[in-house]
């Protein structure tokens, strides 16, 4: 019995839902949304968050998997039969209708239950009728009052300001009393001040209406402010699901840490339980259970690093101040220690070149396993001394004959990146770049959709096309066994 109840608590469930466009997986998600929650799908553009929302609304059909609303499979249900309403990114208010008629649009199409009657076979069946003019009028007036636009009913939608259009779009959706309100970056077109006001209004509306909100945004601050639960997405996959607090304090991986709030992200080595090596020194931490000498990512929030007096007993490391900028309510200081840059937010003003002592609580070293420690590609030999990788032919030191199945391993540091795509053997797009204290870790996606992890001292801009090549001696090519003969 209890189990049934738990299932009913989930208003939306996405089970193994995949969306594939032209062989590219744009979304591969599996999660549930509780009734009454304010859930935010958060991620950079192209992460699949809008596609996921559109699959819930019914505008996109998943290539695989099921979408359940209220426990019912709605994968094949058209949008107009789903108990959800959407607030569109650019509002999509009907330009040929005034504010009143825009809001009344859904109501005029709606059928409500109106008692029961016997059909020809003598069975009881529900009778449906359209809403009367008076009922529609009452609902529209109520919702106009809710969004503070009582006197705007007769107005042409084009004559409204961005914020007012936004309110009409919300009113048009909630007047239908949906069980779920889907919002696709609804505040993207508003200026900062308006956006802040609308955030608060949306939150109070969520409380008042008591329905489930699914909100899509790329703005991490918006997500942290408004949501009960955040779903962080990247490259079509969910990176982390959790409360704002949890996602901020305990990011699941370096990507989440980098995307949400500012952070110091370093590569380190877990020497043993509770000891992590970073920048050539060992530090105390609270994490255990990693393999001995396992490479890890270490995340430290800038506000968790304190600048303390040199004589303080609570001290973690000493460094030299590189920059110090006042940011209104704190100083943003970069401290250089053993060539690694630490970003510090504290209310202590420092002079450039000063020696300072810093303290980090062991608890504030967030340690997570690396998602990948080496680039490994299963491929085939093109010819003796040449291996094919993502459609390019790379010279290598292997003498295996052509068409031999091989595994190629390339270290992050051994991938050479070129400004000009033509200078590399293959081309790719920089999809991510994270600063790790004294170098950048980039992810370069080739045209074959393989992601190369690259450690480089240069900063590459997201979205840039670059060339990639690898020196033959830096490549390890090993013959592999094919799993299945084709």
């Amino acid at each position: 019995m209890a189990k049934v109840k738990v299932q009913q608590d989930n208003i939306i469930e996405l089970r193994g839902v995949k969306k594939i466009y032209d062989d590219v997986t744009v979304a591969d998600v599996n999660f549930a949304i509780k009734r009454g929650e304010f859930v935010t799908l958060l991620g950079p553009s192209g992460c699949g968050k809008t596609t996921t929302l559109r699959m819930i609304a019914g505008f996109e059909k998943p290539t695989e998997g099921q979408v359940l609303i209220n426990g019912k499979d709605v994968t094949d249900t058209p949008p107009h039969k789903r108990p959800v309403n959407t607030v569109f990114q650019k509002y999509a208010l009907f330009p040929h209708l005034n504010v009143y008629n825009n809001i009344a649009f859904g109501l005029k199409l709606k059928y409500v239950k109106d008692g029961e009657a016997k059909n020809k076979l003598g069975e009881n069946c529900d009778v449906y009728r359209k809403l009367t003019k008076a009922e529609i009028d009452e609902k529209v007036k109520n919702v106009l009052r809710l969004v503070d636009l009582e006197d705007y009913g007769h107005r042409n939608v084009a004559s409204l300001s961005g914020g007012q259009q936004q309110r009409v779009a919300i009113a048009r959706a909630i007047v239908n009393e949906p069980e779920v309100l889907l919002l696709d970056e609804p505040l993207g077109a508003l200026d900062l001040k308006m956006r802040k006001d609308m955030q608060i209004e949306l939150m109070s509306m969520h409380k008042k209406l008591g329905i489930t909100f699914v909100y899509v945004t790329h703005d991490q601050e918006e997500a942290l402010t408004m949501s009960d639960t955040i779903v962080v997405m990247r490259g079509g996959e969910i990176q982390q699901i959790g409360t704002p607090q949890k996602v901020y304090d305990e990011p699941a991986n370096a990507f989440v840490a980098d995307f949400i709030g500012e952070s110091n992200i370093f590569s380190g080595i877990m020497r043993e339980d509770f000891v992590v090596e970073l920048a050539g020194r060992n530090f105390e931490c609270v994490d255990k259970g990693f393999k001995k000498n396992e490479p890890v990512d270490i995340i430290i929030r800038p506000e968790d690093i304190k600048i303390v007096k040199p004589e303080s007993t609570k001290r973690t490391f000493e460094g030299v101040v590189e920059t110090c900028v006042f940011k209104g309510d704190h100083f943003e200081t970069t401290v250089l220690m053993n060539d690694f840059e630490f970003l510090v937010h504290d209310n202590v003003e420092c002079k450039v070149g000063d020696n300072v002592t810093c303290y980090i609580k062991p608890f504030d070293f967030h340690i997570m396993a690396k998602s990948r420690i080496i680039n490994k590609i299963d491929t085939y030999m093109w010819d003796e001394g040449v291996v094919e990788i993502c459609g390019g032919r790379f010279p290598c030191n292997s003498t295996l004959p052509s068409d031999t199945p091989v595994s190629v391993e390339i270290g992050f540091k051994d991938v050479e990146v070129f400004d000009d795509e033509e200078d590399g053997i293959i081309g790719g797009e920089v999809i991510n770049s994270i600063y790790k204290g004294n170098y950048y870790q980039c992810i370069i996606r080739t045209d074959d959709h393989y992601d190369f992890f690259v450690d480089t001292t240069d900063e590459w801009l997201k979205g840039d096309r670059v060339g990639i090549s690898v020196a033959p001696e830096k490549m390890s090519v090993v013959e592999r066994e094919e799993k299945e003969d084709e």
Binding site: A57, G58, F59, P78, P79, H80, V84, N85, T86, F88, K90, A92, L93, F94, P95, H96, L97, N98, N101, F105, G106, K108, L109, K110, N156, V157, R172, A173, N176
Partner: protein
């Protein structure tokens, strides 16, 4: 700054000159001719035209042909344009529909006549209307296609989201949002149809004379006065239908009832 303005304005002089010679001057000549008979100022030409039953009859027939042709073009053209916007290849398919316009319209009409005769179809009202539709259908499809393909897809999605099935989406969003296209399609077919000449003459073996043909006839018979009056009537009709159409266009934008 003032120099700049002068030079820019200079580019418009050739056009203004052209307009004066080929648009304003002829209009003035028509106006003068309409009020002149035997070298004196008079209303005689108007009296001649409005008391001549056959002229009025021609006018009414022309309006009827225009109305029927426009209706057929709209009912044929709208579904075609709508279907074309649904396909990716629509942009190129539209070119196919406008392909007949590349052939000179006299040649085209003569060829149509040959086809009718080969099919043993009696030339008359039916053949005239078929010929008109054939000639003017592209002028209906083009503006409809442009206006339909410019409708943002999000409107249809919003309507679906609010509970409209596909018919509801069409009736409540696509159709009202394509009214500007319908209006310009109608204008582009109706006005040329009532003023065109040669098509009806050729396709009905001179049995049906439309207004355009009879203006042509009057001028070739040196009846400049009555011809000019008829041209004036034509101009007034054009202005009238333009006013009506722009009113219909505005009515949809101001956001009245559904």
């Amino acid at each position: 700054m003032s120099k700049m303005k002068l030079t820019r304005r200079a580019f418009s002089y050739p056009y203004i000159l052209f307009m004066m010679i080929f648009v304003v001057l002829p209009l003035v000549l028509i106006l003068v001719n309409a009020f002149m008979a035997n070298g004196e100022l008079t209303f005689k030409n108007f009296v001649n035209f409005f008391s001549d039953g056959s002229s009025i009859h021609t006018l009414l027939i022309s309006l009827a042909v225009g109305f029927i042709t426009t209706s057929i073009c709209l009912f044929l053209g709208y579904p075609i344009a709508y279907l074309l916007t649904k396909r990716k290849s629509g942009r190129y398919m539209v070119l196919l529909f406008t392909l007949p316009m590349w052939v000179n319209f006299l040649l085209r009409t003569l060829a149509t006549k040959e086809i009718f005769q080969a099919l043993n179809m009696p030339l008359g009202m039916a053949t005239v209307i078929i010929g008109m539709v054939y000639n003017y259908l592209p002028f209906m499809i083009m503006p409809l296609y442009t206006s339909l393909s410019n409708i943002d897809k999000s409107y249809a999605e919003a309507a679906q989201d609010l509970g409209a099935n596909s018919l509801g989406v069409f009736l409540n969003t696509t159709l009202p949002l394509s009214v500007p296209g319908i209006v310009s399609g109608i204008t582009m077919v109706f006005i040329p149809t009532i003023s065109t000449f040669a098509i009806s003459e050729l396709l009905s073996d001179r049995m049906i004379t439309l207004f355009g043909d009879s203006i042509n006839l009057k001028f070739t018979q040196d009846m400049y006065g009555v011809g000019s009056v008829m041209s004036l009537v034509m101009i007034i009709l054009v202005i009238l239908s333009n006013v009506l159409m722009s009113k219909a266009d505005k009515g949809t934008k101001s956001g009245g009832a559904v």
